[in-house]
Symmetry: C2
Subunit: 143 residues, 2 copies
Amino acid sequence: MDTIGHRGASAAFLREDLGPCTCHRRIRSTLDVIANKWAVPVFVELVRAKGEPLRFTQLARAIPGITQKELTKQLREMEAAGLVLRKVYPVVPPKVEYTLTQLGWSLDPVLDALARWAATYGNVVADNQARFMERRKADGAAP
Amino acid sequence: MDTIGHRGASAAFLREDLGPCTCHRRIRSTLDVIANKWAVPVFVELVRAKGEPLRFTQLARAIPGITQKELTKQLREMEAAGLVLRKVYPVVPPKVEYTLTQLGWSLDPVLDALARWAATYGNVVADNQARFMERRKADGAAP
DNA sequence: CGGCATCCATTTTGATACTG
DNA sequence: CAGTATCAAAATGGATGCCG
């Protein structure tokens, strides 16, 4: 034990293996998968479907504000990573269905960890940010 | 049980509370804190310091490729959120020290979850992406 | 229906120079 | 030393229109 008291979890993700460099890359590669603007909304819809396939337009209508372009882009990215399965039916008019793969489902606990952190600390963070802005205004207004 | 077999974790982050909308916001608000390009590198350095304060230039030299501008921006953002403490010594030449706060340390298990997911599935994802690119080239080359 | 192509606005990032 | 200011480059996001 050292005398510097933060007392909590201490860098589990750093101790587990070879050092900060590998660690950066790993965290970053996970973020690259889930940090895009529409990644989470698309993900959540597919999760909510519980394995039922969803058609392109179903997803589009379920996610307010998304454009076809962005939805296409996001689905392609997830398909490329192997998180979703894209099934094309050779019919007219076209029919394409999307489902989460096993690999896709494996992200569920990760997203859960993010949601839980915000549930616990989100308000504190928002408060801090608000106060920080206040202080900046006060400091800027009276020099 | 339903007959559609994904068999794994099933939407823990959706069951815990009010629905997908709250869930989106929470996950997004956490991502807003950690998803910026330099957030993780800065974070990891502060974690590695184990509570020891780090000076601006120490951080800058420890993080290859970062510019002063980006480091300043990142540290300000983290300070605003209450994740780091910024201590200014009124001396010349200037001396400023940064440390993680308790709130900052609370992100450690979250980052750990991200690192662990990549440790488990990162190679599979990379493989999938490589194969996807191959397929795209093959399909484009022989129409 | 699903999706690609194009154009444009906004944001993010980087390089460089300057300062108390 | 620890920033700020300015400018340029690049990535991202949104709005349309067309097509099989």
